[in-house]
Amino acid sequence: MIPSTWRTCLVLAAALPLFVACTTHRTDVRNEPSQRPSRYLDPATATPGSPGSIGMESQDIVSMTDEIMRDMLANPIINRQEKPAVIVMDAEYFTNDSSQRMNKRLIVDRLRNELFRAANGRLRFISREQQQMVDEEQAKRTTGQVDGSPRITFPTADYRLSGRFQDLRGGDVQGNRDSYMQVLFEMIDLNSGELVYSGMHEFKKSAYESIIYQ
């Protein structure tokens, strides 16, 4: 039988490497350029395993633009049966009045694209953002650099998108955090200034912040 004092020494000796290993811990870097290959994810769903945030995410943009697109197409003034309405839909009059950094074109571009595809010619769009490109081509025609005659007039738009993204953030000292987001989409009649469409998408998210970051 091993005397107890020797047993104690053995315990301590066994524990020593563990102490050493723990105190020499340096970095948390995996010395490899890539740990997993890229993969495709559905932008309409939350990333599996991702912690997420209480701000706007890809799935929010997808569901919001889908909803507003359907709503706009159901509007009889915009989606009229006779001559197709001409629309300007860009981010110029879409305001970020929230506390979140965002590229508002992510919302407006997706909405325009979805609307364009779903309308299938029943709506026409004018790109004011690319007006310079059109002007340059017209200038070349005017100076004879290219074939074709310059256009004297350009079509005007019937409606233009405006909107506003707002939020209200809250929380408490216990670590609860929440965010209410409200996105307003409006279509303005460029002849009369009349509001011909108004749609809103709103949602709220909450989370609990770890105690060590409160």
Partner: protein
């Protein structure tokens, strides 16, 4: 079994935080020379100091006029700050007695998170994206909204000033009214910006607050003012008009008036735990040594060996208890972002379209000018907003001393 149990218990300390994928060396070498140590630090220190290194890099890049790199770094830091991790990752470790608070993935204290938004907001202003700049200042205010001491919640006067200025420049008087109201409440002496004040001038002076682990076991996080000169005034001369910048924010005051943090209670519990194990270890060791001593004096080899054996056993348990106490880490996290200023001075003034020469003077306590920064700024159109951001000296810190513990 007992040995294995103890071994596993102690080995628990070796669990690592999540991995960070380092930037390939060729990309680091492609960065400006002054910033390369910062990117090396980013690679070396991984996820644990990711936010810290990115914010320091962002501010350094801004000082060097490398706005694209500054935007990248600050966006990366803010994306991480905005993530709500719950109980995952290093957050769990930092709450355990075997790890110091510094084990956690750094997201900074409230004033540090707010300042990360401030710098990103400045970059948005420089890029003429006032809506996102305003969003940044609002987010900065939100970071300061949960201080323990209620009177110090959301009291970042400079952020209200900047938010209001952005709204005014966007012709959004309704949105401007709320931050102006808060500004007047927090700092009644502050000159509020008006819709005509399209040129924003910012002067940053002094150095960042220093964090200290004080008290028993270093469990109390305290602050001292950053080293260096404490300025009293900053003036700007724009086309022969002299204006005094308003000292809107004292960062040391912001850092030190927040009150206690919830983590402080956990750290205090660690101190109590450590003290109890220390006391137990000390008592058992003393008892064991006494047993050995008494045993050695006893007659009869049987009694002597038995008593000495028991004494040795108690001493060994005492030593283990002492070792356990030594492993307890109650220290507060003193990592800090080092290239923040001490004070933010800000003023907005009207400027006509055209090019303007701006001379910003930093004056010492005695009123003597100790540093001057001169910049050219262009206002392209009437009421077109622009910003002049100045510091008395360019101080690059990112990556310096990265192999030291913060």
């Amino acid at each position: 079994m007992a040995m294995m149990g103890i071994g596993m218990w102690l080995a628990g300390g070796c669990a690592s935080t999540p991995a960070y994928r380092p930037m390939p060396q060729i990309m680091v070498e492609d960065k400006p020379t002054e910033l390369q140590p910062g990117y090396q630090a980013l690679n070396q220190e991984g996820q644990r100091n990711y936010v810290l290194n990115q914010v320091e890099l962002g501010i350094d890049a801004l000082q060097l006029g490398k706005h694209e790199l500054a935007r990248e770094a600050l966006d990366a830091a803010l994306n991480e700050i905005e993530v709500v991790w719950g109980s995952a990752r290093g957050a769990r470790d930092a709450r355990r007695v075997w790890f110091s608070e510094g084990r956690k993935i750094f997201k900074g204290e409230a004033y540090e998170r707010a300042m990360a938004y401030y710098y990103r907001g400045l970059l948005y202003i420089m890029a003429n994206d006032l809506e996102n700049a305003r969003a940044c200042f609002r987010s900065g205010i939100f970071q300061d909204a949960f201080a323990e001491e209620e009177q110090h919640r959301s009291d970042l006067a400079s952020f209200y000033y900047l938010e209001a200025w952005c709204s005014l420049m966007l012709n959004d008087n309704v949105a401007a009214s709320e931050p102006l109201r808060w500004l007047a409440q927090i700092r009644p002496d502050a000159p509020p910006p008006t819709a005509a004040d399209n040129l924003l001038i910012i002067g940053e002076s002094g150095s960042a607050p220093v964090k200290l682990a004080a008290g028993q076991g270093g469990a109390a996080l305290t602050y001292r003012r950053g080293a260096g000169r404490r300025d009293v005034s900053v003036t700007a001369k724009v086309n022969n008009r002299v204006v005094t910048l308003y000292p809107a924010e004292d960062l040391f005051w912001q850092a030190s008036t927040r009150g206690g943090r919830p983590i402080d209670y956990i750290l205090q519990d660690k101190v109590v735990f450590k003290e109890r194990w220390e006391a137990a270890g000390s008592s058992l060791t003393n008892l064991g040594l006494a047993g050995i001593l008494i045993g050695s004096q006893l007659g009869g080899s049987g009694n002597r060996d038995k008593t000495m054996g028991v004494g040795a056993g108690l001493a060994a348990i005492g030593i283990i208890a002492g070792a356990v106490a030594d492993k307890v880490q109650p220290q507060a996290d003193t990592r800090r972002i080092r290239n923040f200023p001490d004070t933010l001075h800000v003023i907005a003034m009207p400027a006509e379209p055209g090019s303007h020469h701006v001379r910003v003077e930093f004056k010492s306590d005695a009123g003597a000018t100790y540093d001057t920064v001169e910049k050219e700024v262009t206002v392209p159109a009437p009421r077109s907003p622009n910003v002049v951001w100045t510091r008395p000296a360019t101080t690059i810190v990112s990556g310096r001393y990265y192999n030291q513990d913060y």
